[in-house]
C-alpha cells in the first residue's frame, strides 16, 4: 500500500501576530457580560458592513456605489477596533473573532443580517436598514464617548463623527425615495414594514446591558430609545413615511439566536480565512 503525501495548501503572508490562527477550527469564545456588550456592537458593525458591501459594483449609480462601500469601510474599521479590544482581554485577535467564531457566538442584532441585494432585496431596503441602524449607532457612540473604559471612549470619539455622515447620507436618500415617485414610495414603505419589527431588539434590556450600565462601560439599550426616536421621527415625517406600531415580535440575534440567513452570510465572509488559516495581507 502506498501512501500519498499531499502538499499543504499555500498560505499567504505570515500571520500578523503571534496569536493569529493557524487552524480552521472554530474558536470557543465565552465572553463575560461586559465583553458580550462590546461584541454585540462590533458584530453589528461587521455584519452590517458585509451586507452593505454587497452593493459594491451594483448600486443604482456610481456615486452610491462609492458611498455604500465607504460606509462599509468605516463600519469594518469600527468593528476591528472593538473586536481587537475585546480580543486583547480574551486572548484572541480580531481575525479569529471575526472569522473563526460559529454562528451562535455572533451577537449582532438580527436586522443587520437580514437578506440584502444578493437575495433580491432592493435599494430601498438597503437605505431603510442603513438609516435605522446608523441612527442607532449615532446615538450609541455619542453616549459611549463617556464610557468608563478609556479605549471605548476613544473609539467612540472617532466613530460618532463617522456615524453622523452615515445618518445624514441615509436620511437624504430616505426622503428622496419615500417622497419620490409612486414606485419609490411603495418600495420604501414595503422596506419599512419589513424591517421595523426588528428594531424592537435595539432597545431591549438583558443582563448584558445591566452589567454594562452598572460598571460604567456603556448605556442600557433601552435608554437610547428617546434619542433614537427624536432622530428618526422628523426624517420619516419629511419622507412621508408613517412609523409603524411595534408588535410583539422580538428578534434574538443579540443573544446568539439568528435568522436562517446568518449561516450563509458567515459562510461567505469566513471562507477565505477558514480555507487559508492565518492568511494575512
Amino acid at each position: 500500500m502506498t501512501t500519498t503525501t499531499f502538499a499543504p495548501l499555500p498560505t499567504t503572508a505570515s500571520p500578523s501576530s503571534s496569536i493569529a490562527s493557524t487552524t480552521t477550527e472554530s474558536i470557543a469564545f465565552a465572553p463575560t457580560p461586559l465583553q458580550a456588550y462590546l461584541v454585540r456592537i462590533g458584530d453589528t458593525c461587521l455584519i452590517h458592513a458585509q451586507r452593505l458591501a454587497e452593493w459594491s459594483g451594483h448600486a443604482p449609480i456610481l456615486e452610491e456605489d462609492i458611498a455604500l462601500t465607504n460606509l462599509a469601510l468605516d463600519l469594518v474599521g469600527q468593528a476591528r477596533a472593538l473586536l481587537t479590544h475585546v480580543g486583547q482581554q480574551a486572548g484572541f485577535d480580531e481575525d479569529q473573532l471575526a472569522f473563526l467564531r460559529n454562528e451562535r457566538d455572533f451577537r449582532n442584532f438580527t436586522i443587520a443580517e437580514l437578506p440584502g441585494r444578493r437575495a433580491g432585496q432592493d435599494f430601498a431596503n438597503a437605505i431603510v436598514r442603513n438609516f435605522l441602524l446608523a441612527a442607532w449607532m449615532n446615538v450609541l457612540w455619542a453616549r459611549l464617548e463617556g464610557s468608563g473604559d478609556a479605549e471605548i471612549a476613544a473609539i467612540a470619539g472617532k466613530a460618532v463623527k463617522e456615524s453622523r455622515y452615515h445618518v445624514a447620507h441615509a436620511a437624504d436618500w430616505l426622503v428622496r425615495l419615500g417622497d419620490g415617485t409612486d414606485e419609490s414610495t411603495r418600495r420604501t414603505r414595503q422596506a419599512v414594514d419589513r424591517l421595523w419589527p426588528y428594531t424592537a431588539e435595539l432597545f431591549e434590556t438583558d443582563d448584558v446591558d445591566t452589567a454594562a450600565a452598572e460598571s460604567g462601560l456603556g448605556p442600557m439599550r433601552v435608554s437610547l430609545k428617546p434619542e433614537w426616536d427624536a432622530l428618526v421621527a422628523p426624517v420619516f415625517a419629511e419622507a412621508g413615511l408613517a412609523i409603524p406600531a411595534t408588535g410583539a415580535f422580538r428578534s434574538t440575534g443579540s443573544r446568539g439566536v439568528h435568522s436562517e440567513h446568518m449561516g450563509y452570510l458567515l459562510a461567505e465572509m469566513q471562507t477565505l480565512q477558514r480555507s487559508f488559516p492565518g492568511g494575512a495581507w
Binding site: E63, I66, L71, K158, R164, H169, E227
Partner: protein, 174 residues
C-alpha cells in the same frame, strides 16, 4: 549619508524634519505632519517612538502610513523607530496645518472648513447631508455644487465648479 546624532533634542528635531517629507499615500500632495496625524516624537534610549492618531476608523492607508514613517525614520539613521497609535482625542481636519491646506488647494482638492461649525456629539435635527459652500480650488469661484457626498477615499467628496466647469474633490471636515 547620516551624520552622527549629537543630542537627543537634535535627534527628535531631525525626526520631525524627516516626517515633514513622508507623504500621505492617498493624498500624496501633503505630508503626515501637514495632515496633523503625528502627535508626538519621543526618544526612548536607542529607539524613537512616533505617536500617530488615525484619521478614519476604516482608513485602509493606516498601516501603509505607519510603515512609511518607520522606514523613513530608519533610513535617516534615526531609528530604530516604532509607531504607536493614540486614539484620543480623535483626529479632526482642524489639525491640518495652514501649509497643508494650501498644498491641498494647489493639488486641486478644496480644503476642509472648520469643524467648529459642525454639530458635536449627537446630531441636531433635522439630519440632512447639506452641501457646503466650498470654493473651487482652481478658479476660486464660490459657485460650486456637490456631485457626490463620498469620493475616491473616505475623507473626500466630489464637487463641480459651475464657473470654470472643472470637477474637483473636497476634503470633508470631520
Amino acid at each position: 549619508m547620516t551624520a552622527p546624532v549629537s543630542s537627543s533634542s537634535t535627534r527628535v528635531t531631525r525626526a520631525w524634519d524627516v516626517l515633514h517629507g513622508v507623504l500621505d499615500p492617498e493624498v500624496p500632495a501633503i505630508s503626515v505632519t501637514d495632515l496633523g496625524i503625528v502627535r508626538d516624537v519621543v526618544e526612548h534610549g536607542d529607539g524613537l517612538e512616533v505617536v500617530v492618531t488615525p484619521t478614519y476608523s476604516g482608513c485602509p492607508a493606516t498601516e501603509v502610513i505607519e510603515q512609511a514613517i518607520t522606514d523613513a525614520v530608519n533610513a535617516a539613521g534615526l531609528g530604530p523607530a516604532r509607531v504607536t497609535q493614540r486614539r484620543a482625542p480623535a483626529w479632526t481636519t482642524d489639525w491640518i496645518t495652514p501649509q497643508g491646506r494650501e498644498r491641498l488647494r494647489a493639488y486641486g482638492i478644496a480644503p476642509p472648513g472648520s469643524c467648529a461649525s459642525e454639530a458635536t456629539g449627537a446630531n441636531v435635527s433635522p439630519i440632512r447631508l447639506m452641501a457646503r459652500n466650498v470654493d473651487c480650488p482652481r478658479c476660486g469661484s464660490a459657485q460650486t455644487e456637490r456631485l457626490s457626498a463620498f469620493g475616491s477615499t473616505a475623507c473626500k467628496s466630489l464637487y463641480r465648479c459651475v464657473a470654470c466647469r472643472e470637477p474637483f474633490e473636497h476634503f470633508k471636515p470631520i
